[in-house]
Symmetry: C2
Subunit: 106 residues, 2 copies
DNA sequence: TTTACATATTGACAATTCTCGAAATGTGTG
DNA sequence: CACACATTTCGAGAATTGTCAATATGTAAA
């Protein structure tokens, strides 16, 4: 596991993006229940759809979509599509590797 | 000790600034001996003067001075003036607090 | 005090990021 | 198929950042 510290720092240097990452630590506490409208029960793995995040962030859909992409390209989020929705969740592996890097190498 | 995660992330989102922070982990290994020209022996505490950092970064003095200021305002560096020189060194307290934040709160 | 040097500040322009609305794409439903 | 809806992509203008040369400031030496 190796991380791109520059891309991660860029991703975290915006308050909304930082908040999204923090909100996703507690999806149940921060967002309405996800996937209730799906017929088939699928494992969303704590993922939250773009529109829920957009409502909380209070920015335009395109901006939020862009932010989520930035976080994903930095390796901090993972996404999975189910039907019409894309569910984003934290990539704990990268976040752990980041913590390790900051503690040991920075 | 509380840190400004946004300002810290901005400071670290530039390769040269990140490198400066890393270089300063090992001043003796990365820079020429400091303070040799001073008459009075002063404790530089591992600090390195701007021109040494500038030479290694290979950017203009004003850019490097600006970068060092950015790192200092984020709390990642400390500076101390001795004669004509300003010596910059890591602020380990903030860096430790950052590591703690990333590990526990991010 | 004149000079030389280390650093900081200013002003400018290029490059990047922020953010939106509009348009495009993907997907389920009538 | 036609429509509605979730999301992404595109295009654009505003705001911020990167970077330099020129200038200013502070300090030591001659």
């Amino acid at each position: 596991m190796d991380i791109d510290m520059i891309e991660i720092s860029k991703a975290l240097s915006n308050e909304t993006r930082l908040n999204i990452l923090l909100w996703l630590k507690d999806p149940e506490g921060n967002f309405p229940p996800q996937g209730g409208c799906l017929n088939e029960p699928v494992d969303l793995k704590g993922g939250v759809c773009v529109s829920s995040i957009q409502a909380k962030a209070n920015l335009s859909p395109s901006t939020v979509s862009n932010y989520l992409d930035t976080l994903q390209r930095a390796g901090l989020l993972l996404s999975e599509r189910h039907g019409k929705w894309t569910y984003y969740r934290r990539n704990e592996e990268t976040i752990k590797a980041l913590a390790e890097f900051v503690k040991e190498a920075l």
